[in-house]
């Protein structure tokens, strides 16, 4: 089968789903962040693939670029927060940090 748009979409959807799976199942906060990166990557694949196959020009790529930059910024902030958590809670296991609840 000729590799076409759908193939890329399958990859992106798989990445997206794995990302969410990772976010909800991993205990370690850093690994949760990795899940988020997977989601962002999947969206980027979409952007570029759609732009490529739909002949939408370079806009898709610019978006992907922005997303990569944002991902970096977000990772920085998130990691700083995780470090902070580690300092106060002495753990980075997300499921153990549940003092705020009903």
């Amino acid at each position: 089968m000729q590799v076409g748009l759908n193939h890329f979409l399958v990859i992106s959807t798989a990445l997206f789903s794995l990302g969410i799976f990772g976010i909800v199942t991993r205990r370690n906060a850093v690994m949760v962040l990795m899940g988020i990166e997977l989601i962002l990557n999947s969206a980027n694949i979409n952007f570029i693939a759609f732009a490529r196959f739909g002949n939408f020009g370079l806009q898709g790529q610019v978006m992907a670029l922005f997303v990569i930059i944002l991902a970096a910024a977000e990772a920085a902030i998130a990691l700083a927060i995780v470090l902070n958590i580690y300092k106060t809670f002495s753990t980075v296991n997300v499921d153990e940090i549940d003092t705020l609840k009903d």
């Binding site: 969410i20 976010i23 909800v24 199942t25 949760v32 997300v94 499921d95 940090i97 549940d98 003092t99 705020l100 609840k101 009903d102």
Partner: protein
């Protein structure tokens, strides 16, 4: 004296006692002797009443004097037009006669009470209450409309509540007051319904206007049946007030009040108000209503008479006899003996007041001992009391030369004639039977109290004849129990002015075909008719008058024989002790018990209302001395049970539902809380699931 003057005089008679009440009530604490003011007021009132009666009966014999004013103006009501509620005064013969009786007895009771109530800490308050009672009673008599009757009717209820419960510290007294008020209200409900029907139909309360419309053929709901119902409903008020069967239970209890009060309200005036009410609305009563009235009257005459045979409390005997006598009057009205019934009302008022005051005198002398089995031999100690009491007893038994003979005989005669014309012989039969019973129990009472040997020596020793203020009323009333005031012929009352000129049968306004045959008028209906027609005999047909005449002699003789028989038996039993009473009672134990326990009304009503559930209480009530409360207790306990149930229902169900809603809200909140686990990843799982669900919804 002109008509306006008479109106003013009537107003004065009406309002003076109210003034007395207000003054005595508010100054009672400050001024010790304020009762003298009240006394003065009542004497003044009586003087006014005498004047009024004199003028009216002599100069305005055939004219009714009416004066009215607009109490409430509803303005121009849509659909009905201008609507007013008028209040007014009607002075006619029966009113002035009635007012004379009321004020006279009231005055005598006032005087009697001076000595009798001496030393009571609420002495002044007592006189104030007498004042308001007189006021209310006068009001009933003078009104020209149904609404005012109802108003004063209720006020009478209030004053009787106050007077019966005068010694409110005694639970039995306050119970009796309450019972009187509530039982009366039961009757009033019927009366209210009657008034509602009348007003709804005629948009007026005034008797003359209502009668005029009825005679013009305008009937409630356009139905003769409803006219009958209206009459019966209004009569319900009389059932309550005049203590007729089945609402008679309050009257014996009401004996908890001071004895002069009993004399005033339970003998002469308040209970007579019911009879007076029937007299007032007589024109609109159909034959059905009259028959109903007659039956009620008959039952009320008979049942209490049998109960009175065995009672030992001097006042209770008198109370039952009162009911019985009132039953006579009601029955008399029911069978068409209008004039005799009203006449009996007057004569009974005097001799029954006399009996009560006499008993009061005895009780006073015996230091509030009321049990006749503990009395005896008082004849010697209290000759005056005995003499007057004897006269009254003769009167109530219907012995010639007394007033009672005249009036009672008339009623018997009427019922006899009624039987012969309609075939309802039962009324006559019961009437005569009751005459026998009355004579017996009255003389039983008299003998046990005054004859024989004292059964309680200690109390006997302290007994003494009453002082002047107590004796004087006895004498006056005894005098009024003699025939001479009413008719020159002691065997025919119709020769006196009171029955020929003063009391006149009213013109009926009911449609012809709803009347008894003997009441069918010769005058065609539809013509506007004044309350008092020119010819008072117009109410009756010729053959009624005929039947009445024919009944006169047999009825008189029969009643004489029966009364004599009753007295004789009483003497045999109690004076000469020829028959061992205890043995006799044992041999007819069931009947004795029936009488002694007042016919077990409670059991009957329990069976009707509460059925088997109150089986147990029926057994217990056997031993209960207050078994009299039967009817009221039966219905009261049902009401109370119902009220407790509704109270519970309110708390548990209605409120419970509200609380359940609140609880449910909280529960929903709790469920929502469960989602808030504090674990962020769990939240995200929820979000994922939510997205999935939303996608399924909006696909």
């Amino acid at each position: 004296m002109t008509e306006p003057l008479m109106i003013n005089l009537a107003l004065m008679i009406l309002l003076l006692p109210l003034l007395g009440f207000v003054v005595s009530l508010f100054l009672g604490k400050r001024i010790k002797a304020i009762y003298i003011f009240e006394l003065f007021i009542i004497i003044l009132t009586f003087a006014g009443a005498v004047t009024l009666a004199f003028v009216k009966l002599n100069y305005y014999q055939n004219t009714d004097i009416v004066s009215q004013f607009t109490w409430i103006n509803f303005g121009n009501i849509p659909l009905l037009g201008q609507t007013n509620i008028d209040l007014g005064i009607l002075i006619d013969n029966i009113a002035v006669l009635m007012i004379f009786v009321v004020t006279l007895i009231s005055m005598l009771v006032h005087i009697f009470s001076i000595a009798y109530m001496k030393g009571d800490k609420l002495y002044n308050r007592y006189f104030a209450y007498l004042g308001i009672f007189t006021f209310s009673m006068t009001g009933i008599v003078f009104t020209h409309n149904m609404l005012m009757i109802y108003i004063f009717w209720e006020l009478v209820g209030l004053s009787s509540y106050l007077l019966i419960g005068f010694w409110f510290e005694k639970k039995s007294a306050s119970d009796a007051g309450k019972k009187a008020f509530i039982v009366n209200r039961v009757g009033d409900l019927g009366m209210l319904a009657g008034i509602l029907i009348l007003y709804t139909t005629y948009h007026t309360f005034t008797f003359s206007q209502i009668f005029a419309q009825i005679s013009a053929g305008h009937l409630p709901f356009n139905s003769e049946f409803w006219l009958t119902v209206t009459g019966i409903l209004i009569f319900c008020g009389a059932i309550g007030k005049s203590a007729q069967f089945p609402l008679h239970v309050w009257l014996p209890d009401a004996m908890e009040g001071p004895t002069p009060v009993s004399a005033l309200i339970h003998a002469a005036t308040m209970v007579a108000a019911g009879v007076f009410l029937i007299v007032r609305v007589y024109p609109l009563l159909t034959s059905g209503a009259l028959l109903f009235i007659a039956i009620i009257g008959m039952l009320s005459a008979f049942i209490p008479a049998t109960i009175a045979l065995t009672q030992n409390d001097i006042k209770k005997v008198l109370a039952y006899s009162t009911i019985s006598q009132l039953g006579y009057m009601v029955m008399g009205l029911g069978v068409g003996a209008y004039k005799f019934a009203f006449f009996h009302l007057i004569t009974h008022a005097f001799f029954k007041a006399l009996l009560f005051l006499g008993s009061g005198s005895v009780i006073h002398a015996m230091h509030h001992e009321q049990d006749i089995t503990k009395m005896g031999g008082l004849r010697k100690k209290m000759p005056l009391t005995y003499a007057t009491f004897l006269i009254a007893s003769l009167a109530i038994s219907g012995i010639p030369l007394t007033s009672g003979f005249l009036s009672k005989d008339g009623i018997l005669q009427g019922s006899f004639a009624f039987g012969s014309l309609t075939g309802y012989w039962i009324f006559g039969f019961v009437g005569f039977l009751v005459a026998l019973l009355t004579a017996f129990y009255m003389f039983r009472l008299l003998i046990l109290t005054f004859h024989g040997k004292p059964r309680d020596q200690h109390k006997y020793d302290h007994a003494h004849e009453s002082s002047f203020s107590m004796a004087m009323p006895l004498v006056v009333l005894a005098a009024l129990s003699i025939f001479i005031w009413y008719t020159p012929n002691p065997f025919n009352p119709e020769q006196g002015a009171i029955l020929t000129n003063w009391i006149k049968a009213p013109q009926l306004v009911t449609p012809q075909d709803t009347r008894y045959n003997f009441m069918k008028s010769d005058v065609p209906s539809g013509s506007v008719i004044k309350t008092v027609p020119e010819n008072s005999e117009i109410m009756y047909s010729e053959n009624y008058t005929e039947a009445l005449h024919q009944a006169h002699i047999p009825a008189m003789l029969l009643s004489l024989v029966l009364a004599g028989l009753g007295i004789l038996i009483a003497f045999i039993f109690y004076q000469w002790k020829k028959v061992d009473v205890d043995k006799l009672t044992n041999s007819i134990k069931p009947l004795y018990n029936l009488s002694y326990n007042k016919w077990y009304f409670d059991e009957m009503y329990d069976a009707i209302f509460v059925g088997g559930t109150l089986m147990l209480s029926r057994f217990l009530s056997w031993f209960d001395l207050t078994i009299i409360d039967g009817i009221v207790n039966g219905s009261a306990s049902l009401t109370r049970a119902l009220s407790i149930f509704t109270g519970k229902f309110d708390n548990v169900v209605v409120d419970g539902f509200v609380n359940f809603v609140a609880y449910l809200s909280g529960f929903v909140g709790l469920i929502f809380r469960r989602f808030q686990t504090g674990k962020v990843q769990t939240y995200i799982v929820f979000v994922v699931f939510s997205i999935v669900i939303l996608l399924f919804i909006f696909k």
